[in-house]
Structures are given as structure tokens and as C-alpha cells.
Subunit: 140 residues, 2 copies
């Protein structure tokens, strides 16, 4: 699927889970979920998806790149809005099918296209409802 | 796909993104990614997937339930290991295709089957390598 990263199918389970080879496990669509977490506050800002090109661009430039599933194109987060994300650290999980980035949110510090600092601005009740949870809206 | 939650296709974009109706957008496989974050430390512990039954069980019991893609069954996290996750808050994101839970990690405080407190115990270098990042291993 990509020759930019090691092939996870070539690793045994111990190497995949405890080894030193980065072999991201893209799914059948060539995507891997990537969580962006504010490096300073710990706030989880968003989850989006990367293909191999986006992950490579993220590592090369130090700014978060994703694959926009809705637009079907490489997405340099913040290129238009100014809300770029400087990637201070990029982690993967035990079976290498998720990315976690510690980021600094640039521009106005926002992340979400709806205007909030984090995309997770609503919390669920047990009754099927959502309510605002205090995540600030920046872009009103 | 499920009658346990509102149908996101019945909502317009404004209602989906800024409304008070919880209408989780399960993917074509009936799954939604769910991030577990330590409520106290802010550490991102893991990402796994929920189907509608797992999400409903999580809301009903207050303990994280996932869908195990490898075993093909409902997975009450910690039922065997003791590493249950008490869900203090459950959030969704702007377009309701991701879940974020603030949890208390029970048992020995671990999360990962490899023995670490968080699944994200390795960080990527620019050279295709992974290195330990200081996440403690509990179950040696």
C-alpha cells in the first residue's frame, strides 16, 4: 500500500508490539486514525485520519497533515484557517493502528471548523441528549 | 443499523454539529472509534471501537464496553484483567463520528494488554524507528 513505512505484515507480534520499527497499520482504505492532543493542557482536540502521504508529510514538516475523507485530498490542517498544529511528539499504540500526536495549536488556538477549541464540545447524557460541556467557542 | 440511538441521517448539518441530539455516526461496519482518556491525568490511554451495543452498554453501566474486532464480540474492558474503566464523562465530536471518554482506570491502573498504563508507550522518530517514551509498564 505504501513504501514510505515498514510493512507491518512483515513483523511478528512481538516486533509489532514491543519493537523499534515504526510500521503503521493502515486500514483497508489506507487510513489510520490520528488523535491530536494539546501538549500543554492535555486536552484532546480532534480525531482525523491519515493516509501514508499525510503521515509522511507530518513527520517531514512537523505540522499535522491529514487525509480529508470528505474532500478526498491531503489536508494540511490550518493552511487556510491558520490553525496549524505543530507536532511535538508522535506516538503509536501497541498494535500500531492508531496515532497520537502531542501538538501546539497555532493561530487562535482553535481546532474545530465549528469554532471550538476542541471538537469534543458536547457531552452525552444517559437519555440520548447532548449538552455543552464548557469547551470554549473561539470563532463567533 | 441500530434503533438504540437517533439516526444521524435524519439530522441536518446544524443539528448534527450544534444540536442536542446524540446521533452517533457508526461507520459502514457499524463501528465508531472511542478514545479513553484518564480523567485525572489527561493521559490518552487507548483507542478502540464500539458498536451500538457497546456504546449503549457503556452508557447504561458506566463502564467502558467496546467491540473487539479481533474476537468479534462485545468486550467489557477489564472483565478479566480487572482493568475496568469507570466512565465519568462521554463526549462526541462535531460530526459525531468519534467518542471521547474521561475515565478512571481501575485495577492496577493499567490499560494495555502489553502491560503498560497507556497503549501509547512508543514514540516515532523521523527515521522510521520507535522508542520508549516513559509510559510505565505495570505488569512485568
Amino acid at each position: 500500500m505504501t513504501d514510505q513505512f515498514a510493512d507491518p505484515a512483515a513483523l511478528d507480534r512481538a516486533a509489532l508490539e514491543e519493537g523499534a520499527t515504526f510500521a503503521p497499520r493502515f486500514d483497508a482504505d489506507g487510513l489510520i486514525p490520528a488523535i491530536a492532543q494539546d501538549a500543554e493542557t492535555g486536552e484532546v482536540l480532534m480525531l482525523a485520519y491519515m493516509n501514508a502521504d499525510a503521515l509522511a508529510a507530518t513527520l517531514e514538516t512537523g505540522e499535522a497533515h491529514y487525509w480529508s475523507r470528505s474532500r478526498g485530498e491531503l489536508w494540511h490542517k490550518g493552511a487556510i484557517s491558520g490553525q496549524t498544529q505543530t507536532v511535538l511528539e508522535l506516538r503509536t499504540d501497541c498494535d500500531q493502528d492508531t496515532i497520537l500526536m502531542k501538538v501546539r495549536a497555532n493561530g487562535d488556538g482553535g481546532c474545530c471548523h465549528v469554532g471550538y477549541r476542541s471538537c469534543f464540545y458536547r457531552s452525552a447524557g444517559g437519555d440520548g441528549s447532548l449538552a455543552p460541556n464548557g469547551v470554549p467557542k473561539l470563532a463567533d
